[in-house]
Symmetry: C2
């Protein structure tokens, strides 16, 4: 059911088609994040119009609210949220470690308190898979533990646990219409990452995720880790770099053989009034845009840029009108999806690798981090 066909290659970068029950996914692809079964402020129609093909939703959030059994009883996540293209759910592990209140981890699983109401819950690999089977995404994740990249001693413990949990996750799977990806961990330790990549690849899952990056390590460490991991993964399986990233991360990730990305950055920037623009990231609340009759990006084909000026968007922000968030989310997501379309074109015509410096340069002004960029996934 889950075939991955590579359609073109340019050194380690490749384009491909991953077949899912909700249609073919053309890779490399950037997935907007719909944490609570909605990509914040956008309708599924907006997502189709910006050519989004894969949407991620969060197991931890949906388990707590509205509950995975409710979603199942409503016909599954696709039907519930009106999105009939491919979907991906994470395992809930990352959120348990980053969002939940007190948590206690043991070899069997994790007990934690909800960030919403403090109630106590327990996730195990078996529970994570059961929840994800109730949700019904096309691509689901093995339960894993993401460790602090700066805690090298603990990275081994978390990696070994992740490996045992991957085995249990695979055994727990009962649905055959969901592609279960196992996850490579190992912090920023090359030995551990190599070991993890080989071990995880040995399961023969229809795709492989790379976890534990974009969580506090340097860009150099991220690149070095990818340089260790992707060459050890099978060519004929898609690689998903979880929770990444910025425009430069996408360019660098594709160059290192990554096929699938997701990140909250475009919608989070939108909530902070920021937009990707040719001259760099703009905060449109700034008074400098009060009479700026240009679109955010004259070269952009999104509804926002085709229809509205910077002055209008600034007015909406200052007047506290929620439409500002919608218009900025449309643009920011379209900007990254358009970047991926451009990258796929370059890989197909064999010019991607030579254009990496040019692409990185184009996006250099948008790469800078600001307060809105904290990578809470």
């Amino acid at each position: 059911m889950f075939e991955f066909q590579i359609t073109s290659k340019n050194n380690r970068a490749r384009t491909g088609i991953f077949t899912t029950p909700h249609g073919d996914l053309v890779t490399p692809v950037f997935a907007p994040v719909g944490t609570q079964a909605t990509v914040k402020t956008l309708t599924p129609e907006h997502l189709k119009e910006i050519n989004a093909t894969l949407v991620l939703s969060n197991t931890y959030h949906l388990y707590l609210r509205p509950g995975d059994e409710l979603v199942r009883d409503m016909g599954g996540l696709h039907k519930f949220m009106g999105w009939h293209r491919p979907m991906l759910t994470d395992s809930g592990g990352f959120q348990v470690f980053s969002l939940a209140q007190t948590r206690k981890i043991d070899d069997d699983g994790v007990t934690f308190k909800s960030h919403i109401d403090g109630s106590t819950h327990r996730f195990t690999p078996e529970k994570s898979i059961a929840i994800q089977e109730n949700l019904g995404a096309d691509i689901i994740m093995a339960f894993d533990e993401c460790s602090d990249p700066n805690d090298h001693a603990y990275s081994r413990i978390a990696m070994e646990r992740t490996h045992r949990w991957a085995e249990r996750s695979l055994k727990a799977q009962t649905r055959r219409d969901q592609a279960l990806f196992a996850i490579v961990q190992g912090g920023v330790n090359p030995d551990l990452r190599a070991k993890s990549a080989q071990f995880i690849a040995s399961f023969g899952t229809p795709g492989i995720a790379i976890g534990g990056l974009s969580v506090g390590e340097t860009k150099e460490e991220m690149h070095a880790t990818l340089d260790v991991v992707t060459p050890l993964l099978p060519e004929d399986k898609p690689r998903y770099l979880m929770g990444v990233g910025t425009p430069e991360d996408l360019i660098n990730g594709v160059a290192r053989g990554v096929d699938i990305f997701d990140c909250v950055l475009p919608t989070r920037l939108a909530r902070h009034h920021s937009a990707f623009a040719p001259e760099g990231r703009l905060n449109l609340m700034n008074a400098a845009f009060a009479r700026d009759a240009r679109p955010i990006d004259e070269t952009c084909d999104c509804y926002t840029c085709r229809t509205f000026t910077r002055a209008y968007i600034r007015h909406l922000i200052v007047a506290k009108e929620l439409l500002a968030g919608t218009l900025l989310s449309i643009h920011n997501l379209r900007a990254l999806i358009r970047l991926m379309e451009q990258i796929r074109g370059y890989i197909a015509d064999g010019t991607f690798e030579s254009r990496v410096p040019e692409l990185l340069n184009q996006w250099a002004n948008n790469a800078k981090r600001n307060a809105a960029d904290q990578h809470k996934k």
Copy 2:
């Protein structure tokens, strides 16, 4: 330029076509309110999809923020907000009296303090027209004073001032591509309303507005006032009942010869999680809807009802996702626009008058007022 052609009649109810620079307006029509140059949470594409034809925006708000001169310099309100169908602006009078902080009225105009920053401003008939000419709506309003319906002594003073201000507003007009409507006032006093209707009609403006209703009077007083006013107005001019109203107000208004309505009710209800539904107004935050797999209204043709369940909308509300407001606004506005389409059909086939009781009965459960219904326009 501003012709009004009556296309069918059913006793006092009529259908018509009002020609404007941004296209023909088929009446009777309900106009969504876009106070700050945006119908809250909706894009112009959403508005087109629900068949909105006329959008109202508020002179008081736009004068204060972003400023009418800025809107003019950006090409006018239509271009600024991306809405290329007919628009209407009010005179700002009502908001000065209801929203501004301290205000001081004299025969020349009103001095008031901004509700945003307390700064001092002055509106006169000439200023109101100048602002509305900068904004550039198709239909604009004479500056008027709306009095408390329960203060009969003051109603005469406000009415006489409104008459003098109508005269000055007309003299102040310089653009010929905007239809300036004069406004009938007179509280709930039949003598004053009759006098005002005759005086205002004598100006020969391309349309006539009826102000000072839905501001605290009873339904019986509203109906009695319309029964006095509309028979005294010229047949061949559209009548606009300002800031009205509920579904029952629309039905009763059309039956009394009104052609144009506007009200914030549908979008305000949406912000309070409420929806027009066959069984009455629903508050979708209610736990009763947690597993309700039906759309809000199975007979509704809107995007929300075609795509989403009550359970999903409730989830969005509980999870504080802004998409809830967008989906509810689409449905609530479409419900009133669809009611007007239905009414136009009934007038055209001669059955409207006989169907008024049936229509009122259908909407009886939606007529009840709740906290969200306070008519701050």
